[in-house]
Every structure is written in C-alpha cells, then in structure tokens.
Amino acid sequence: MIEFKVVTFSHPTGVTALDHVSLSIADGETVAVVGENGAGKTTLVKHITGLLKPTTGAVLVDGDDTRQRTTAELSRKVGVAFQNPDHQLFSENVEEEIAFALRNFGFPPETVKQRVDWALNFFGLEEYRKSSPLTLSGGEKKRLTIACILSWDPGVVVLDEPTVGQDVIQKERLSETVRMLKSTGKTVIIVSHDIEFLWPMQPRVIVMSRGKIIADGPASDLMLEREVLASARVSQPQLVTLYQGLKKRPAQPFVHVHDARSWLASEANG
C-alpha cells in the first residue's frame, strides 16, 4: 500500500511541484499517471522511492514513512525505470548492469545468473550482453532499465514514460510485461503521455495538473471526460473519440480495435 498524506513539495527555488496531494494506491493496482509537462508526475513518483521527501505531509510505503527510510531500503520494495535511462546506467556492460542491483541486494550468484539470463532474453537484449550500455539506442537503454528493476522482483514497479523510443513490437512486449506483473499481484505505476498505449490496459487513471491531482478514477470513466483531460493537456484515445462521436453506440466505449470493428460491422449489416 502506498499512501500520500496531504503532501506538498517545494523546490529550493520556491516552485511548488506537489500541492496538497492525497492518494492511496492498494497492492496489486495498475495506475496510470497522466498530465501536462511539468504537472508534477515525476516528482510524485520520486516521492515513492524516497528520492524526494515531502516538504510537508507524509508518504508511506507499506506503512513505512519514507522520511525514516533510506532510498536503498525503499528501492528493494519499489523499482523505478526513470524517464531518462542515462540517469541510471553506468556499468561496463549490459549483463553487469542487470547483475549490479541483484548483487547489492545479496542474491546468491546462481540466482543472479538465472535472473540476468531471464531479463536479457525477455527484453530482447541477449545480443548486447557484453556491450556497453552507452552504445545502445534510446529504446534499448529504456528496456535495459526496465529489465534491471524487474530482475530483483520489487513489489512496486514504476515506469516513467516507458514507451519513448519503442516500436510497436516492443510496446506490445511492454503491455505483456504489465499484464504479467498485474497477474502476479505487483503494483504497477505508469507515468506516460502515450494514451493509446495506456487505454487497452484499462488502468486506474490519475490526472495531474500544476502539482495537484485533478481527477482520479477508472480509465473507462475518466477518458470520456474530454474537458477534464484537456485542462491537463491530455487528449482522448482515438477509440473513445470515435465512440463519443457516434450517434448510436453501445453502452461501453470500445477498448480494442476489434471491439469497434465488430460493433460497426454489425450496425452496417442492420
């Protein structure tokens, strides 16, 4: 369980990045955080890992106040793949990069090897095993950071803009990863501008604007609220715009292209 209790965070410059944020995320939830550039989304997730501590209020992770815990302690529970992968890659080669945290957490060498092999294979990075992370493309670096955090199996996984630089095959792999994490009871928090990627997952959606949470609810409800989304500079998924534009439509919006196709085909045939 993650709890934000009336959290305000101000930068030393005086800019308030989080403004009286209260929030509760239960174990096993899949949550998408959306909102304009500079809304405070990344600041919010940095509070979960303890990289930032609230100016006022408190953040609790599994009941632990993040102000009383080190980032190292919290990182065992919360794995974060940051927006810019260059901020967290530093090892000599890809294999070592994945093994780094596993060794630090004290996993036995056999487990380290097993998990490194799994991660390289799952994220299609096997051929770069001995390459320097710095030689990878932006999309590959991003996958490597996600592979690193999943390898130590934290209870909470935070993905900050995971689809940047990913082609459709890798995005599908990412969706599959999120489904897998969900089925194993992990809490997944995704910060993303990629609404088309988020929509089929039907997550709980938190909309942020200017440091505040302005809406919070299931995607199936919130994504219909065009004006609320627009006030946080978020657009609707294409299938939702289509759904709302139809004069005659089913009770629920289309989640997948095939839902829309079947419905429209049946309407066309009378």
Partner: protein
C-alpha cells in the same frame, strides 16, 4: 534546381561491424516535403540521418559507398560548416541542445559560430522567435521553461540557420499530447511559410500522419516501404516492421469504408464517426 536530398545506392558499415548499418539505400526528397522515417530499433535510421547531416563520413569513419547529395552537393565533399547551414537537427531531448543563459542567446548560438554579421543575426533570431511564438521568452533562462517551450527554443535555434532541410528526432516523445499536437501544427506551418523540408523520425504516428506526405520504412538497413502514409500503414507488412498503426487506420481498413481513408487522407476519429453516422442514419 536540384532535389533537396538525393540518396543514391548508399551503404555504410561501421568499423569492425559484421553487417551493413545502411544497405543499398535510395531516396529522393523534394523541397517542402514532410517525410516520416520509421522502422524498428536498430534498423539504421540514426546512421542514415548521420549520413545526411555529414557526421558520416566526417566524424564517423567506416566503409562508405554510393552517394548522398544535399542540395546537389555531395555530402562527402562538403565541409561540416557548409552542411550545418543546409541541414538542421532537432534532438529528442531539447536539453541536449540548449545551454545558454537566455533564450535569445541560445537561438543566436549557431549564427554566432558562423560569424554572421550582427544585424543579420538580430533579424534572423527575431524572425525565428516570432515564427515559433517565443518572442516574449527572449530574456528568460531556458532551464526555467516548460518542455514544450524548450522544444520551441531549440527549433528556433535550428530555423535561425535557415536550413533547407530539418531533421527531427522523435520530437513529440517527451511532450504531453496537446503540446505534441501543437508542435506538429507548427512544423506544418514552417513548411508552408518557409518551404522547409522535414525528415521526422517518430514512433508515435497518430499525430504526424496528419501532415506528412510520405512514410519511409527501414528494416535491417534497407528501405522496405515508401509511399503515402495511408498506403504504407495499410500495407500487410507495416506492423511486422514495428510501425504503430493508429487505431483509426486499422479500423477503417477493416471496415473498408472506401473514400474515408485514401492515399491523400487519413481520417481523424471524429471524421470516421461522422461517416459511420451518415451511413447508419
């Protein structure tokens, strides 16, 4: 007048690499075209872009064959200084290319380096800032700006050099949906007003297909698809090459509502809804 860009049977292999990064690539680009360059990670897009702005072969050595002609001149024989005035490059993350203490100094940076006379520089900086709607930010420190504003500052710096061709590397990937949409409209405006040609590398295609003339797809160093956005996105092979085919294109293709999506036009979700309404009324 020669084509703005002509790539003729170009191949390149990095030192020590087993396979060609770009393999027998041909591409002809007309002035004022907007071209999306797509393909899976590692397909050779970055290498191709480096061969257009001259980083290959001037900064990266390797086996080079064929020719890349920029505005009629062979990139291999042009100086980097001359190429910098012909080809502009906007990085994915604007923070990689803005670093001065004020927006106007940042926009002027490239021109100062070329030794452009002061009055001419002032005029070009003012024009670029006005075109991108950032004149009011001239005295602000770039690091204080929003991501969308930073992107505009970086683009103004590129446009002040008055290049005929501008390369955009995933320009919308870090922007919120509405800021991304505004940037795409801005690119279309610059093309119309200045006649600038754009090559855009992008995975998020739903916005760009509204303004792009062509979609070129690479795979394993080769050009595998080249045509109008509609024709390429409805090609059976498109998703296999890693393209994010927008939901509306997939849907429209499956429904076969002839005329709604055509070679010249990709419908928006609202347009498709209207079409469905008129047919089921």
């Amino acid at each position: 007048m020669p084509r703005i860009l002509s790539i003729q049977n170009f191949s390149f292999r990095y030192p020590g690499a087993q396979r060609l990064a770009v393999d027998s690539f041909d591409l002809e680009v007309d002035r004022s075209e907007i071209i999306i360059l797509a393909g899976p990670s590692g397909c050779g897009k970055s290498t191709l872009l480096r061969s257009i702005n001259g980083l290959i072969p001037h900064m990266y050595s390797g086996d080079y064959s064929g020719a890349v002609l920029m505005d009629g001149a062979n990139v291999r024989e042009e100086s980097m200084r001359a190429l910098a005035q012909k080809v502009g490059f906007l990085f994915q993350n604007p923070e990689n290319q803005i670093f001065m203490f004020s927006v106007e100094r940042d926009v002027a940076f490239g021109l100062e380096n070329l030794g452009v006379p002061r009055e001419e520089m002032r005029r070009r900086v003012d024009e670029a800032m006005a075109q991108l709607g950032i004149t009011h930010l001239a005295r602000r420190a770039p690091h204080e700006l929003s991501d969308g504003q930073k992107q505009r500052v970086a683009l103004a710096g590129v446009l002040a050099m008055q290049p005929g061709l501008v390369i955009l590397d995933e320009p919308t990937s870090l922007l919120d949906p509405m800021t991304a949409s505004e940037l795409v409209e801005l690119v279309d405006k610059i093309r119309r007003e200045n006649g600038t040609t754009f090559i855009v590398v992008e995975h998020r295609l739903d916005l760009l297909v509204r303004i792009a003339d062509r979609l070129v797809v690479m795979n394993s160093g080769k050009k595998v698809l080249d045509g109008s956005c509609w024709d390429v996105l409805t090609d059976e092979r498109a998703e296999g090459y890693g393209l994010s085919v927008p939901a509306i294109v997939k849907l429209e293709k499956g429904l076969n509502y002839h005329d709604v999506g055509t070679s010249a036009r990709i419908p928006t979700a609202a347009q498709l809804a209207e079409e469905v309404n008129s047919r089921t009324a």
